[in-house]
Symmetry: D2
Subunit: 138 residues, 4 copies
């Protein structure tokens, strides 16, 4: 069973077409990624010994099946689709409270050290994190 | 030469990594799409004879080459990559003020009538619009 | 005891200063308002007999005491500060997971009918809603 | 004559009520503040000698007169309403392309040094900046 979380579509997430603005699906994916990483004792951004770590995105996509509307409660299933040396590719399957599929998205991120001046240097995923993520590969 | 527009990265477009939040690239694509359609005398949403028309998205993606930062002025080149009976696929090439490539995105939209209750019905692109878009196919 | 809800600060809610972008406090207020109205069996937008109702904002404000940061879980207490014939003024008190005050905001909304063409007409709050809101006046 | 800038309401700025979401007025104010500061050779965030400076917000408000809609081009007049030792209060008057008033907002900011760990320390506005801002006091 994949990790699953939920998030409600808020009024401010909608646009004048009466549906969730498509860009907000990526915000929802990031929330689901944070929930997923929390469930493993990890996060998307943290400090260790004065070094800031993060997961900038290198490639993202989303296919939309059905609109999401105000007050819909979306279920988001998260799996690791591919685990590289430095990168993780997640797949996010969105459904609504009626059990209908809504969208499927993907985010590929690369682990990076960040300097104080916001420069990024990609780095290998530490063995401890890798072990946790490997268990979640679909 | 493709249609080109520009947009500055605002403070509110950034995130705590010090770069433009990745979801905002899709907002920038939509702005560029609006500018592009305006240049053809069209828009992304309009009313005719009591019917509301629009272009809901069915598939979107973005590949990121280089971060965009606060006060960067991004150049966005827009081309029609594919023109279907009911759908349009745009490609957006982002560069920064230094001439560096930043990102490449794609949006596939389907022309729809929208009812007052925000239901969508896909429909063929009228000949007049098709003629204008065909001239922009890359 | 006022109505209270919680919401986590997401990565996409932050800006390059490393804190929640100030405009997002208003999005959080709206989420808290929705939660509050749901607790009374109401909402911020609904349809009855082909008429769309809503609560456009006429005046909003926020005073910030302390930054909110990524992964902070904010507690938001909601009270009705003033109930007019057509308007409601809410006060929202934000605190963080350490019990520190973070911000205090206010939103004044007016009940409106909305036409299909998105025109607004202010209207008196029905007795049934008024009775529910009156019980929540601070 | 106050400093004036313009910004178009984008599709992604709207909500399901068919108007610009109220929180986006604050994003527009920040864009106008950036344009205003640029016109004086300043910015809202910068680095000098390894120190990061910025203007976190301590108090903001907005009164709404009339909805802003997709493709409206808003004119935003910016004045310094009050200049304190460490703080600046701006007023923003929004109008639309028809010359109608739309909203009036205010932002009070405090000049701060920011550490690498995103801690803020308020500081006096340097004489050079103060001189430029004083000329803009309404």
């Amino acid at each position: 069973m994949p990790f699953t979380t939920t998030r409600r579509v808020e009024f401010g997430d909608t646009d004048m077409a009466g549906i969730m603005h498509f860009s907000n699906f990526f915000r929802f994916m990031e929330v689901a990624e944070t929930d997923f990483l929390h469930s493993l004792g990890m996060s998307v951004s943290w400090w260790t010994d004065g070094v800031k770590w993060g997961f900038p995105r290198v490639s993202v996509s989303c296919d939309f099946t059905r609109p999401a509307r105000f007050e819909d409660v979306l279920t988001i299933a998260v799996v690791v689709e591919r685990l590289g040396t430095k990168s993780v590719t997640y797949r996010f399957d969105f459904g609504n409270q009626h059990g209908d599929p809504v969208a499927t998205g993907r985010i590929t991120t690369v682990l990076c050290r960040t300097t104080a001046a916001h420069q990024f240097e990609s780095t290998e995923i530490p063995a401890e994190f890798r072990a946790k993520l490997e268990e979640q590969v679909a």
